[in-house]
Amino acid sequence: MTNVTTTVRGACPQDCPDTCAFIYTVEDGKLKDVKGDPDHPVTRGRLCTKLNDFAAHHNNPDRILYPMKRTGPKGSGEFKRISWDEALEEIKSRWTGIIDEFGPQAIMPVHYLGHQGVLNGLTAGDAFFNRLGSTIAEKTFCGVGREIGTHLSIGGSTGVDPESLVHSKYIILWAVNTLSSGSHHWPFIEEARRNGAKVVVIDPLKSRTAVQSDWHIPIRPGTDAALALGMMNIIISEGLTDAEYIAQHTEGFEELAERAAEYPVDKVSSITGIPEADILTLAREYAGNNPSVIRQGVAIERHRNGGQTARAISCLPALIGAWRHVGGGNLGLTLAPFALDWDAMCRPDWIKEGARVINLHNLGSALNELSDPPLKSVMIYNINPVVQSPNTEMIKKGLSREDLFVVSSELFLTDTAAYADIILPATMQAEQTDVMFSWGHFYWTYNHKAVEAPGEAIPNTELFRRLAELMGFDEPEWKRTDEEMIRDYLDWDSPFMEGITLEDLQKNGYAKVAAGDKDTRTPHAEGNFDTPSGKCEFKSNLAADGTFVPPPFRAGYNGQQLAGYIDPLPGYTPPFESPESAPELSEKFPLNIISPKSHGFLNSQYANEFKQLRREGEPIVIMNPADAKQRGIEDGDAVSVFNDRGSFTGAAKVTDDTMKGVIASFHGHWQKKTGGNGSHKGSVNAVSSERMANLGSAPTYSDILVEVTKISAV
């Protein structure tokens, strides 16, 4: 028999700004290879160290292929195969019993962006759980605080097209490690640099990107707003502003100038740890080299003042008129031009009166403490909270409750799935249909199903069709095919969709939104900000309404927002866990830990793959030589990192890459029993906190104090 080899267009499913266009190679019905599409203008045929072995990931023998039922104690990872009918019958009987006794709010979905597809991603189960009347899960793990902060200043801006970066003359990569977590921006940055641009990285850690930059400015975690305000003060007091742009296209300049004056350079230096001369140079160079652009990373928000930090930074471009120029302004989330009908996806019209909202940063507390009704069942998909969510010890304790019915839809037996009562097998990207937006470029990407699903695995779309039928939901929406859902979910009439049809998208694999030409676009040269005043609001009109989380991150629901007071001017507040805010805590736990994304894993995904594990190695704890010496720790020593919430272990890496008082450990490692490496215990999120930042309920993963000790040899 001759081999039949075909190629099929696909799209990377991961929660990463780059959303690469794929070419699947299929041989006799089996996935042989996954490569980048060389014609894609941003991703250009290259994948990354995480996704290069994606075919092997599909064919990994550890895949969950059939429904399974727990046979050992919770968390033990002992399961037996059952049929889909048995699994669904068990789910129906347990959920029906819970609803009868406690009401549907005793059930909650636990999910996020383990898959980023329009069909199978963030909102895949929202319509089902809204119809069921469950507790609503609010998910603000990544970027919402930054976006709310930015939104208060410049509205729902499309921002700078990353392809326009080639025109930039001064590029600040602020709280982003581009080369590890979004490396397809780099060729544009390199081209700008060859044209004379300077690349500056602001990051507590000397990341790969910092090493390759022209200037790395290390900063104390959580103090970036003080730096931004200090830059404003220098720019204003030295007359480096674009007065005409400010007069025509901004509001609240006088008030901003007053606020910025509270941040003289000596004060900013003492808050941030950056030398005064460097702060002066940064402000002057930034203002004097238009087009200047700031790429704000997600890490900007991971502390108490997270939202206000993004807000302060997003005021800078208007102050110097950067928006006048191609390649000048702010580059954050590029989601604004992806026209989706979120209400059709989430069905908030099905939400019942008196809905309950729980933010998943509080999952540990909710599982253990919630009453009226308590949580009696969680359904976990597209997420691995035992590794990735804050306060993992509380989560493990909650998931161990004998009276809690846990359903998990998964690819592998993760540290979280190990706590399930029922596990359902999920498909991987080449086995399903989807369409992807991007939060790092302006292209839609289409993913064709390339191969049949292995075993009895199903996509999330089919999962929720089956669950809807199981629970007796008979609306016509549950009968749609995947393609019909795509037609319903994309807003084909939006001006951003001009020239894009589903047929073309399917044929070509990708299509750029109609948001202007990369070599000429200046979205805010004439103002046109999507704010109440239409201007860049240094003093925000929207602040009066209080903080909020956009409905797509809370199943489409816009009720029961956190609200509360927002300072209408950008401001600086010290971290929760800092000597200023918590002197006693900081004596007990003197080190500030940050937990950046690793180079080899995508959060916790791929951390069970041989190649990625071998590249990434054991969990490490990066610490400054002064901190190490003080604790008798040498490079390579096994250390324990702990605070009152929990502990984890890793190997010390003693280096000047981090400043004194700040340690770092990459997140994502699994425990060995579920496919991880080595003998480490716990994960970095054992020490992190459920507290949220001041805007958009952002997490506070960088606002954590710990102590480190050497583990004595046994």
């Binding site: 250009r44 290259r46 080369l179 490396s183 397809h184 790969r208 590249r615």
Partner: protein, 105 residues
Amino acid sequence: MPFVVTDNCTGCRFTDCVEVCPVSCFHGDDDRVYIDPVACIDCAACVPLCPVQAIYEDLDLPEEKEHWTEVNAEKAPTLPKIIKKQPLLEGAEERMEALGFSRDN
């Protein structure tokens, strides 16, 4: 864990590798190129483009080529970056064939 250019590169300069590299981590002398291990982001884009299969991930190096990890790390930082395809060295095509490779593999 970076990628490493090994002995097969010497004397060829096909240099298809350098243009695909997203981080411009190739450096070169008159005979060949080397990868700067600090700049390499392990994306592997260069590997399939090398017609003489000279590029390996360091962890996959055959034992007799392991020393190339150190050679790349030492040489790359001392040499200029090569970001554009270079003129082919004389005899490179014949050398490729002698090594048992062709443009099509």
